[in-house]
């Protein structure tokens, strides 16, 4: 008996994987049904639906990048404190002090890559007409995922707390001042007033809600940190679960009718 077989026959291995190694047809079916990670997939699938030239693998790559971002992000959180005193210095220290410093690079380039792959995924879904019935609603979920992907990237951009970061966020969030009705420089903000007092000011408008302050400051850093590390990732994870579930329920990857 080879070492590999010995391991695969052991009680430990069997208790973890719940099925014999997928060598024959039967067990290749069983593995898909009994493994938690694999049960996302069906057991068998139309050959042309999984051709790389058809899906470009872009949805899958986006999902994988999301996982990479989660793992590297958690590692970065060990070394990073979201305060004016430490944020910049902690990132600086990642360069030469921390052994896992390259995680910052992987995290940043992975984030850029994810923005690009999510666009390309949408591009491919559009070009194969896969948003047409019965997949309309999964496309809608996709658009929300697209928005959250951009927001993830945007909130993360602030965290290094360098010049690049605060000014990009300042420019990006200045728009919120001009939100119709809800921004203090937006059309119609005067509509919301009580007895001559404006309800919408620079300390109560949409931008203030986003930044937690009148300008990009420590409150903003804290707010973006929580959005970036907790709130948005949870929302994205939930939406991805629904997205995948819908891919299956809508009949698998789209194919000619």
């Amino acid at each position: 008996m080879s070492v590999g077989d010995y391991i695969r026959e052991s009680q430990i291995w069997k208790s973890v994987f719940r099925h014999p190694a997928p060598y024959d047809r039967r067990n290749r079916v069983v593995v898909m049904l009994t493994n938690f990670f694999l049960h996302l997939h069906p057991v068998s699938i139309k050959q042309n639906g999984i051709a790389l030239s058809y899906t470009w693998c872009m949805g899958g790559i986006t999902f994988f990048l999301f996982l990479v971002e989660t793992i590297t992000g958690v590692l970065l959180m060990f070394y990073y404190r979201p305060t004016l005193e430490w944020a910049f210095n902690d990132i600086l220290a990642l360069r030469d002090v921390s052994t896992l410093g390259v995680m910052r690079e992987v995290h940043r380039w992975g984030a850029h890559a994810m923005v690009i792959t999510v666009w390309l995924h949408m591009y491919r879904v559009f070009l194969t007409g896969s948003y047409k019935p019965p997949r309309e609603f999964n496309w809608v979920i996709g658009v929300i995922l697209l928005k959250f992907t951009l927001l993830l990237s945007f909130t993360g951009y602030l965290l290094p707390w360098d010049q690049l970061a605060i000014w990009a966020i300042t420019v990006g969030s200045n728009m919120a001042r001009a939100t119709p009705v809800l921004g203090h420089e937006g059309p119609g903000f005067q509509l919301l007033n009580i007895g001559g007092y404006d309800l919408i000011t620079n300390a109560s408008d949409a931008r203030f809600l986003l930044l937690g302050s009148k300008f990009v400051g420590e409150e903003t850093l804290n707010r973006f940190y929580i959005l970036h590390c907790v709130a948005i990732p949870l929302a994205v994870a939930g939406l991805i679960a629904i997205h995948f579930w819908r891919v299956r329920k809508d009949g698998g990857i789209s194919q000619p009718l």
Partner: protein, 458 residues
């Protein structure tokens, strides 16, 4: 000795470029081999004596040329002053003239978009694709000999954008290649290729192994990228030192570019929301049942053209413009041009109401009387801006009806009133950006409707 602070060539640049040419040599070697295997021949024009030559010969010659260029880089890097493989100034000058003006840039990107669609049969072949790819890599390699080009393209956060241009180009090419093939088949009464040989296979191993390989390759790719290119970290944040230019993150630069033409409430709030809303509405607007689950162009000409116009020139094109061409004071700079803070661009834009009252009628502008009642003030403002208000309302309310009765008759009939109005307004809002650009360039138009009193400028 006088040292140029911005040298076009240094030893390390030349040496590094050598590797870029090495990559091109290797990939063209493979291509030459592929052509040799295919064994295609090409008839020479009669001036050159007629006769057949193997296609592989051309590629062999090109590869040989690239090899010589590469060797020159690896041997001549020690003496950058004497190195002569540079982009000539006249070339840089002419490229810059084309790209440092938003008019020409937009015109050219629209022409490229139209060219892609009209010439799709010619461009989406393997040979044409390979030639385009070679042209792009060669252009990049030669451009990297320019100091200013390196500054802007080599910014760590901009590197992914250069990569994205290649990837978007590749996938657009791939789409048309597959769509052409299916369109041909459909013309012959066959089913699309995706419907052929579509047996069911087991996910383990067919899909699971692909996924595993992709994951390993991507992980390796990210680590190599991470080691080669350091993530940017500038000076610590300072709320008093405003950088010039101040740019949003790169994926929002298309939106930031809209700020040149529209006020923030439109460019920063209404239009982005419309883009997202419009995308979500898309499946409920497109009533065409064809083209579901396979690549085709002919069966979905309108939908694909509109989407490609939005994605290529408007989204990707504006990101390129915002990232590579917008410099200090948000002025336009060519890709080989120095970012001079003192570059001046005269701005004297005029509002439609000023055109109307001052120049058209030769009268003075109606001014709301600060002592009169609120209603009277509003009335004066509306009166003052009436021309623009009418134009805007006409654009959003009247034009859809005109569209419904003329070019989009068929659409209006099949969509019904409400759905058609949504569709027409989305298309018109998408066209609002190019429309305003043209008005700005043609008439120096600032605002169609200018009500700064209430932040309503259109």
């Amino acid at each position: 000795m006088h040292l140029d602070p911005h040298p076009n060539l240094t030893s390390s640049v030349i040496y590094g470029l050598g590797f870029l040419y090495l990559v091109q040599v290797v990939m063209n070697l493979f291509w030459t081999a592929r052509c040799m295997k295919a064994g295609n021949h090409q008839r020479l024009p009669s001036v050159l004596g007629g006769g057949d030559v193997p296609v592989a010969m051309w590629w062999g010659m090109y590869t040989a040329l690239l090899s010589m260029v590469m060797i020159a880089h690896f041997t001549g890097y020690r003496n950058p002053e004497a190195f002569s493989l540079l982009l000539p100034d006249w070339f840089k000058g002419s490229v810059d003239v084309c790209v440092n003006d938003p008019k020409l840039f937009f015109l050219i990107s629209t022409l490229i978009f139209a060219g892609i669609i009209l010439l799709r049969k010619t461009l989406a072949t393997d040979t044409a694709g390979w030639m385009l790819f070679n042209a792009a890599t060669l252009f990049l390699s030669l451009s990297l000999t320019d100091w200013d080009f390196r500054q802007i393209v080599g910014k760590p956060d901009n590197v992914p954008i250069v990569g994205m241009l290649f990837i978007v180009g590749f996938f657009t090419w791939l789409f048309f290649k597959k769509a052409n093939e299916n369109d041909r088949r459909i013309e012959q009464g066959l089913r699309p290729l995706e419907a052929e040989n579509n047996e069911k296979v087991l996910v383990w191993p067919d899909l699971v192994y692909t996924e595993l390989i992709v994951m390993i390759a991507l992980t390796a790719f990210l680590f190599v990228w991470g080691v080669l290119l350091e993530a940017p970290l500038e000076e610590p944040a300072s709320s008093v030192k405003t950088p010039n230019p101040s740019k949003a993150p790169w994926y929002f630069l298309g939106l930031q570019e809209m700020l040149v033409y529209y006020d923030p409430w439109l460019a920063g709030v209404v239009f982005p929301s419309t883009i997202l809303g419009g995308l979500m509405a898309l499946p409920y607007i497109d009533f065409n049942k064809k083209g579901n689950g396979y690549y085709t162009f002919n069966e979905r000409k309108f939908a694909i053209s509109v989407f490609l116009f939005g994605f290529l020139p408007l989204w990707v094109g504006m990101i390129v413009l915002g990232t590579f061409l917008r410099g200090p004071n948000w002025n336009m700079f060519g890709i080989y041009e120095y970012w001079d803070v003192h570059k001046l661009e005269a701005l004297n834009n005029v509002n439609l109401s000023e055109y109307f009252w001052l120049y058209g009628l030769g009268m003075s502008m109606p001014v709301p009387d600060a002592t009169s009642s609120f209603g009277a003030q509003i009335a004066t403002i509306v009166w003052r801006e009436l021309p623009g208000i009418l134009v805007t309302l006409g654009y959003l309310l009247l034009l859809p009806s005109v569209m419904a009765m003329t070019v989009f008759r068929n659409f209006a009939f099949r969509m019904g009133f409400f759905r058609f109005m949504v569709f027409a307004n989305l298309v018109l809002l998408m066209a609002a950006l190019p429309a305003k650009m043209v008005l700005r360039w043609a008439f120096n138009l600032k605002y169609l409707v200018a009500i700064p009193e209430y932040f309503i400028n259109i």
